[in-house]
């Protein structure tokens, strides 16, 4: 089933065009990997999906991105509701300078999701458990989140993202600042999370894309060159550029 349907998406930074006519469908409850060399526009596309590009003054987005039969670029779209439904995990772990508990309760608080302290405790516990962090931090929930290790911080950010029960989770190179062990933990986690969430992950690691994703889109110079099932893209790409990139001949 198609979760996100993007049609003719163009993105401009000032006068420079960063994305050209992107048409990409994202499957529900699957992991979609976006790969491509640096500066190819994959992160820009990812940020279109929860309108994070709004934060950048000079950025303009054209075209349609339809999620649940609704164009998120439409004027009537409520960005706050949109971002509640579409969570995001960033390249560098960015926990708030607050306690672990407050990091998780932040989203549910601003969206009014818990009526009582008990309910909030439950949300925090569940989110941390889903992010496979509960066992490590359950005794120090009221210590600062910035005191955790890099991998733990990133899982904290994932827990923060899933605390508001988003339908989609966007991940922008979530493992690029982590060591191989932390990376393996996150990848395992991604596999687990796809039961409840649709996941889109931008990655520079071809091996990671092959390991975690069911679908892959290859971007180059602002264009979506090829997309399809990960198996097909990696084993039998149609486009020569895709093949060159995957086999490591450029990029």
């Amino acid at each position: 089933m198609i979760k996100i349907n993007s049609k003719n998406v163009d993105v401009f930074y000032g006068k420079k065009q960063a994305l050209f006519n992107i048409n990409l469908d994202i499957e529900e409850n699957q992991v979609t990997a976006l790969i491509g060399p640096s500066g190819c526009g994959k992160s820009t596309f990812l940020r279109c999906l929860n309108r994070m590009n709004d934060v950048i003054d000079i950025c303009r987005v054209k075209g349609q991105i339809i999620i649940n039969d609704f164009d998120i670029n439409d004027k009537s779209c409520d960005v706050v509701r949109l971002r509640e439904k579409i969570g995001m995990v960033f390249q560098k772990p960015n926990p708030f300078p607050k306690t672990i508990y407050e990091n998780i309760s932040y989203g549910p608080t601003i969206h009014g999701m818990a009526q009582s302290k008990n309910e909030m405790d439950e949300i925090v516990e569940n989110s941390l458990k889903k992010a496979a962090l509960w066992e490590e931090v359950k005794d120090r929930l009221h210590e600062p989140g910035t005191g955790l290790s890099g991998g733990q911080q990133q899982r904290l950010c994932i827990a923060r993202a899933i605390s508001v029960k988003p339908e989609v989770i966007l991940m922008d190179e979530p493992c690029s600042a982590l060591d191989p062990i932390a990376t393996a933990q996150i990848e395992e986690l991604i596999d687990e999370l796809k039961k409840d969430h649709t996941i889109i992950i931008v990655t520079h690691s071809m091996a990671q894309a092959a390991r975690v994703s069911q679908n892959t889109g290859f971007f180059h110079l602002g264009e979506l060159i090829e997309h399809g099932s990960t198996d097909k893209i990696f084993k039998n790409p149609e486009n020569k550029r895709t093949q060159d990139y995957i086999t490591g001949r450029f990029g």
Binding site: N50, M52, V55, D57, V79, V80, R81, L82, R83, E84, G87, M88, F90, K92, N94, P95, F96, P97, K98, Y106, G107, I110, H111, P144, T146, C157, R160, A161, V164
Partner: protein, 461 residues
Amino acid sequence: MNLVIFIFIVLLGFTSYYFGRKKAYSIQATNTRLTALPQFYGYYLAIWCAIPAFIIYSLWAIFEPSIVKLIILSDYSNQGYLDDELNLIYEKTKSLSRGQFSGEITTYLETSAEKYLNLRSIAQNSKVVLILAIIIASIVYGYKRISSNNRTREPVEKFLNAVLFTASLAAILTTIGIVFSLIFQTIDFFKVIPLFDFIFGTHWYPAKAFVRDASEPLDPSMYSDTFGAVPIFAGTFFIALIAMCVAIPIGLMSGIYLAEYASTKVRQYAKPLIEILAGIPTVVYGFFAALTVGPFLKDIGTAMGLEVSAESALAAGGVMGIMIIPFISSLSDDVITSVPQSLRDGSYAMGATKSETIKKVIFPAALPGIVGSILLGVSRAVGETMIVVMASGLAANLTFNPLESTSTITAQIVVILIGDQAFGDPKTQAAFALGMTLFLVTLSLNIFALRVVKKYREKYE
């Protein structure tokens, strides 16, 4: 003459830099590897040239006058003169030698003056010779030490370290010096006025202290009810409070606007415009408060049936607050801008609005800097003098009615120290006592605020 020597040493320093570097280049030309870049050899030689010379020069400048004095006065020893009289003789000798003496010239004095001139020229000449000799010796020594296997980088770096250390020492020593200059006068003051009366007394009339004739002995009882500092401390904090009530909300909000909401273009123009406020001299604020705001408030008050003094705490405090706005807004703008964008992104991505993000994420992260800017504002408010003198008057009324006139510590120090004062008089010493108390109060405020910040700050990174 001294200037010539000074310039000479500096010029020689530059020259030796050149020669040191040249020698290093010539060593390099023989394909020998140096232990440092050639300019380090230049600096090395320049330091060798200038530093010993300057040390001798300053030692000479310190000791020459007292040695000359000792030699001159040795002629007068064993004649039963008192120390003060000897000093007078020496001063007379000096002015006679300059040809500026107008009193009775005795033969003794004339011989002394001649001897003085003689000594001075001997000293001057030997100083020049000594310094030249030192310079030449140290340059030769330093020049000989320049070779491929001698280290120059470390001594040069050490020298720089010492220079920087001296610079920071100067600031610390000045602070200590100021504190000490306050302490002794303050102690003298409290010998006459009991500490209790000063801290808890509610009447401040230093003008009363003028009555005393300097020849009469000091009678502490005549100062009772004169130096009670409560009214002016109350006035100081009251006016500062009014000022901060104006400055903190406006400053903080404009800082947040500039950092988070304003477009680049607006910020580019608005920030310098706000900072212009900081460039206005306080005297100008003073007459703005005294001639515009004060009468305006009085008119409004009269129209509303209130009794408003033309010189009111409200006028002074309000204008002072406006003066402090740019400090708070500009500094808090800077600290808010320096909060990493990743924290904002994280918050926006959770669906937080701009104001939620500011309130819950950015503000706590920027808190130490914001408190710092507020502290700076408070110390400006407590230390501000001119606006108070001009707009709130000099009468130390104990009042918490913002529409009446009141006075502050700094304004009272001005009142006390303007015009004729006698040192050693309680009235003058009162200024020192006030200064000392003010210093202690602001110091403990700062320490307290720093502790609060340390406890509540949310550290990012």
